[in-house]
Structures are given as structure tokens and as C-alpha cells.
Amino acid sequence: MKISTMKELLEADIVCCEDLLNEHVYSACGSDMMSDVLAFVKDQAVLLTGLVNSQVIRTAEMMDMICIVLVRSKLPTPEMIELAKESGIAILTTKKRMYDACGILYTNGLVGNKLRA
């Protein structure tokens, strides 16, 4: 799925790294606990979270992810945007809640673990 498609499906705004909109992502994970995200390397490219602090960006960076979706209308801090630009990570913001956002992406083909056809 392209990041631009995620943006449409989630009716999201993109905060930074618009140049990544045409990138394809193949799997995602959703969590507010960063250690859980860090626990399982499965090549997820997208992190959906309701958590807003710099560690969200660092966690994504450590996992080589390229997109973070902030759910429930959360806005990134200036510091997060700065870090995300530095790391080349697109930040999307959506009004949708975690459960709905994950469900929408999942039913449209973005799965939870690595399943490359």
C-alpha cells in the first residue's frame, strides 16, 4: 500500500516528509507501548500510535520504519517533527481512533506481519 493511499483511507493530514507519499509499505503495527514495538522486528514499515513524544520517532527510527500515524487527532511536537525530518519518517495525523485506523488499513490489505506476495 502506498503511503498516499493510507492518507486517503484514514482521511489524514501529512505533517512532514511528503516526498515519501509514493513509497510502498507492506505491514504495520499499532501500539502505545514502545518496548512492545521494539520487541518484534518483522519489517513493519508503519507505526500507528496515540502516544506523542520524541521516543515515538526514535522507536520508529530504530526499527527502520518510514511512517508514523498519530491517531485520535494527536499532533506531533515541534521536536518530533524535527527528528522525523532528520530520519526521513513521514508523520500522518488522523481523527480516527486506534482500533478504527488499524481496521481500515487491515481490511484494505495492509497486514500486521510480513507477508510479501
Binding site: 502505545d32 518496548s35 520487541a39 522486528v41 521516543q55
Partner: protein
């Protein structure tokens, strides 16, 4: 690469926001050295969890990363409260982190197990009231 490369960082214990700075820098440095991306990911995740621990449990410390031909070694040294029962601390889900840390996304008791999971060697030396030194290695072969 015949010479050993060493990076050292002071990890600030007062600032949760900047925790992880050293790990990010190490990730950059390892990329410049042309290390395999999977190895870089394992090293940086393990170091990041260790760095977060130094900040939330031990008021900061010093991180040293060295790259030799055989492995990348991370040494995290702090003068925090120490760990009284290492076996218990290593269990998934065990945590003494305060609730405010959990609202920040950490404190699930997965840090030390993650560090073990991603490294080929891990040793914890700790003395209550003196401090903790954690040594981790990821093999380059």
C-alpha cells in the same frame, strides 16, 4: 576494517525527551562504516533500550560502543541504584518503572528481555547502591 573503532557517549539522566540520542548517533556511525542493516538494527534497538533504562532507572551514565572485526560491543555503565535480583529483572513484564514512565510508552518490563533477544551475548554486573554495567555483543559474522 582492521582497527577497532570506539564511540563514547554521556547519557543525560535528567531528560527523558533526549533519551535515545546516543543510540541514534551510533546508528548513523554504523551506517557510515557500512555495517549490515540487520546488524545495525539489532545493535541500535538493544542500545536504545539500555539507554532508556539508564535514564529512567539510573540517572544516566556512559555508553561505549566498539566495533572490532568479530563483533560490535556495547557497554552501558551507570552509578544508579543497581539491580538487586537480576534474574527477576530479566523476566518479561517485570518492571519497577513509575506510572508516569508508562504513559510515555516505556516501563512494560520488556527492555532487558529485548536487549537479550537482539544480542548474541549479554552480561549484567550490578551492585545495589553502586551501579550497573551491562555488556552486550552482536557478532559480525
Amino acid at each position: 576494517m582492521s582497527e577497532q573503532v570506539v564511540f563514547t557517549f554521556d547519557v543525560d539522566g535528567d531528560d527523558f525527551t533526549s533519551a535515545g540520542h546516543a543510540s541514534m548517533q551510533v546508528k548513523k556511525n554504523l551506517r557510515q562504516l557500512g555495517i549490515d542493516p540487520d546488524i545495525i538494527r539489532r545493535v541500535s534497538i538493544a542500545m536504545y533500550e539500555g539507554e532508556i533504562n539508564m535514564v529512567i532507572h539510573a540517572r544516566g551514565g556512559v555508553a561505549t560502543v566498539s566495533v572490532s572485526e568479530e563483533y560490535i560491543e556495547i557497554i552501558l555503565k551507570d552509578e544508579g541504584p543497581g539491580i538487586s535480583d537480576i534474574e527477576q529483572a530479566m523476566q518479561e513484564g517485570f518492571s519497577t518503572a513509575p506510572d508516569n514512565i508508562r504513559t510515555l510508552g516505556f516501563g512494560a518490563g520488556m527492555g532487558l528481555p529485548n536487549m537479550k533477544r537482539y544480542t548474541d551475548y549479554m552480561n549484567i554486573e550490578s551492585q545495589v547502591g553502586v551501579g550497573t554495567t551491562i555488556t552486550m555483543r552482536v557478532n559480525l559474522e
